[in-house]
Symmetry: C2
Subunit: 84 residues, 2 copies
């Protein structure tokens, strides 16, 4: 596999996996007050467009990372709306 | 300009701009308790690698978005460490 593609996968893994401790923290503390709702909404919309960009440019790291990130951000959005 | 590139720029603008209300909220409330430190660290590292990926694949939307996002995430990291 190309080095560039590997770096893309690691980058995607990191930015995607980074949302796991955030989801876990919100879930554990049942607290999302310091999370910005505007941030979550804009980010979710952006991630959807990144997925589209990945599909069009056939960049598998971008597609994989953004689909999973989108699910995690949806979880955060749900908790933000529920716990607020 | 190619439609694909335009979608990439909009996606990058959204995921990048999304951090502005988060930085503003943390700054205004002087509160970052609900932000996960692990999330910010992993995300910052991932963003650095995305920038590298963008440079290697000469994807200007990816480069531009990630450089600005990196600065915003550094601001959040600074506030997380300061206010915690």
């Amino acid at each position: 596999m190309d080095t560039i593609v590997i770096v893309g996968y690691i980058a995607g893994a990191l930015t995607t996996v980074s949302f796991v401790p955030q989801v876990a923290r919100a879930w554990r503390l049942k607290e999302t007050r310091d999370l910005s709702l505007a941030m979550l909404l804009l980010f979710a919309l952006g991630i959807l467009l990144w997925t589209l960009y990945g599909i069009w440019t056939t960049s598998l790291p971008i597609i994989a990372a953004n689909v999973i990130t989108f699910i995690l951000v949806l979880l955060l959005l749900g908790m933000k709306l529920k716990y607020h």
